[in-house]
């Protein structure tokens, strides 16, 4: 894991003092709310439905136990004893006081954390593969590049007042676990035919009001100049992205209006100039960072088998534990989706427990996933049963990873001032309807995603089944979408037809999955069946 040096620490410490100064000026009336808003947003502080909300950055979703415990401490001391893990691998607190915010940032800085650029029209926290460094299928660990991106984007002088927010994701495997094609920039590390490592660069994806799957802007970008290339990508956007209409200000609209080829041409032209300016750090800087992501000291020659005699444990093992590249080790997924719970929420005690498990059994590492779960990336197979027992005791052992109850849901109208409808109660009703694990496992991989408004924080466009909450004359109404994917086979869901009330949408989902069961061929996922047979049979079953 990356450790701050004196420079990183001094920058984060200065940020705490800067924000303290800004808050004092706001409270003293020296700056207006209109002027303060972009300043607080660039530090992740929103005014939400019930209070201020603070979004804390978890860069590329990686933490150690000390940092995780600090998240629990903040929940306990400054909030209401829980936090909400988000689809951008961050954590949000819902009940923050403005006057406490500088102290919270100081606490975070003490463990090399911050809330820098977790909101605002700037470059946001870079997200990545939650299995980075552990996945059997990765070509390299993408996190050293993500850390280079973190440093490059932090207080970028030219790109802190962009037309709109800007999200970058990076992966290094063919399986896309970070939804890179639905980001402003998606980067995929791979080896070209000559065996050189480079990036495939996608630009202009996104969800929201105008969802788009990003086109490839550059098939192969050598790693050594990638920051100057991104500088060129951003400069073209900053200069020519639309500023006349907030709904058309994301880079996806620019790329769409120019055409991918013309946008790419402008970037190349800018890059030809920018890369002569010496903006790229020397290779030694990458090596310095990469050394800190060296694999942990795995034991060799240890048992690679697991005792499956406890049937409940075996189910969890099959569903939530994934293959590790090191023999004798495994990747543990901790589901934050218990039936009746709130997707992504964890209590202080649960956060502490997960920190303890990472420290004792997992080389002190934790990850947050974009599906709002937690990962222990490096666990010895021999410890799995003990870990599972501790998770069971903490209500953290739901064996539902990637099943229909492993729902991504935004906070919705229960917390969010932008929302039109509640998301969480719908998620709870669906999880309840499909409560039996046998039934869920029979349905197989089924990614269900719920957003409470068109902004799509709950990724409804990318759900195999998606739900969008809308306001229909003052009452909550839910549209159903089918066929989306945020993975390497990215696609956008299509709306089935007229919307439903809360119970109606749960019924419609049940009819949808029952239709799938009658139509599927052996081993076919819901998404594959949908793609094969199309919308009509589902529509008939739902509205028939």
């Amino acid at each position: 894991m990356y450790k701050y040096d004196e420079y990183d620490q001094s920058i984060v410490d200065a940020r705490v003092e800067e924000f303290r100064d800004q808050v004092e000026r706001r409270l003293a009336g020296e700056i207006s709310e209109d002027q303060f808003k972009p300043l607080r947003l660039m530090n992740g502080l929103y005014l939400q439905l019930h209070a201020y909300m603070l979004r804390v950055a978890i860069p590329y979703g990686t933490m150690d136990s000390r940092q995780m415990r600090m998240l629990a401490h903040i929940a306990r001391k400054y909030d209401r004893d829980y936090g909400h893990f988000t689809t951008r691998q961050n954590i949000q607190y819902n009940w923050i006081k403005l006057e406490d915010a500088p102290d919270i940032l100081a606490d975070l800085a003490s463990v090399e954390m911050h809330a820098i650029q977790t909101s605002g029209n700037c470059i946001r926290n870079t997200t990545s593969d939650q299995f980075a460094g552990a996945a059997a299928d990765e070509v390299t660990d993408p996190r050293p590049w993500a850390e280079l991106l973190r440093q490059w984007s932090t207080f970028h002088p030219e790109f802190s007042y962009l037309p709109r927010k800007f999200k970058i994701a990076i992966v290094a495997a063919e399986e896309d676990r970070a939804a890179i094609k639905l980001h402003d920039i998606g980067l995929q590390l791979y080896h070209n035919d000559a065996g050189e490592l480079g990036f495939r660069v996608f630009v202009g994806g996104g969800m929201g009001r105008t969802p788009m799957v990003a086109p490839v802007i550059r098939e192969f970008l050598p790693t050594q100049d990638f920051l100057s290339y991104l500088e060129a990508c951003l400069r073209v956007y900053n200069r020519y992205g639309r500023r006349d209409n907030i709904y058309k200000a994301r880079i996806k609209i620019l790329v769409h209006e120019l055409g991918a080829a013309e946008y790419a041409r402008q970037v190349e032209e800018e890059w030809a100039h920018v890369k002569t300016l010496g903006l790229d750090p020397p290779p030694g800087e990458f090596e310095r960072i990469a050394a800190q992501f060296a694999p942990p000291p795995f034991e060799t020659g240890i048992a690679d088998t697991v005792d499956r005699s406890d049937p409940d444990f075996a189910v969890w093992l099959d569903q939530n534990v994934k293959a590790h590249k090191q023999p004798g080790y495994a990747i543990v997924n901790i589901s934050l989706k218990p039936v009746g719970g709130i997707p992504g929420d964890a209590s202080s005690a649960q956060i502490d427990l997960m920190a303890d498990l990472a420290e004792t059994y997992g080389f002190d590492e934790l990850r947050v996933t974009h599906a709002q779960n937690i990962v222990l990336p490096h666990v010895k197979k021999a410890d799995l049963y003990t870990i599972w027992q501790k998770l069971v005791a903490a209500d953290l052992a739901s064996a539902n990873l990637d099943l229909i109850s492993d729902i991504i849901a935004c906070p919705g109208l229960d917390y969010c001032s932008l929302a039109n409808a509640r998301s969480i109660p719908v998620a709870q009703k669906i999880a309840k309807r499909f409560e039996g694990l046998d039934r869920q496992r029979d349905l197989g991989e089924l990614k269900l995603k719920i957003s409470g408004c068109i902004n799509a924080c709950g990724h409804h466009h990318a759900g195999h089944i998606g739900i969008l909450g809308v306001d229909r004359k003052g009452t909550e109404n839910y549209q159903l979408l089918l066929g989306g994917s945020g993975a390497e086979d990215a696609s956008l869901g299509r709306i089935t037809g007229p919307g439903f009330d809360e119970d109606g949408v749960v019924d419609a989902i049940e009819r949808t999955v029952e239709t799938y069961r009658t139509l599927r061929t052996e081993g076919e996922r819901f998404l594959d069946t949908y793609r094969r047979v199309g919308m009509d049979p589902f529509k008939e079953a739902i509205y028939g």
Partner: protein
């Protein structure tokens, strides 16, 4: 009737205009009639409230009820965490919102 609401600048708490001050309880709110915007501007300038706005409300047998579900949830708290409501001891609180 019209109600004036906003958030406390320092704490972020949802607050309601009572005619002379701000309260966390919508039951204390008064009809601001045509004066809402003027009160909002003066109170915001004095930094006694943040982001104030005027909403429709109605008097019901259960007390004042904001017209839109969003403001009813603001008045109560998240419907999925009734333990965190403004009135956690009131079992009927959630039913009043929807």
């Amino acid at each position: 009737m019209k109600l004036l609401t906003g958030n406390d600048l320092k704490t972020g708490d949802v607050v309601w205009w009572t005619g002379s001050d701000w309260s966390r309880h919508v039951a204390d709110a008064v009809d601001v009639d045509g004066h809402g915007e003027a009160i909002a501007a003066a109170e915001e300038a004095a930094r006694r409230v943040n982001a104030p706005y005027v909403i429709d409300g109605e008097a019901t047998p259960d007390g004042l009820r904001p017209g839109h579900i969003k403001d009813r949830i603001r008045a109560l708290g998240p419907t999925v965490r009734l333990d965190l409501n403004i009135k956690p001891a009131d079992p009927k609180a959630g039913s009043w919102v929807i």
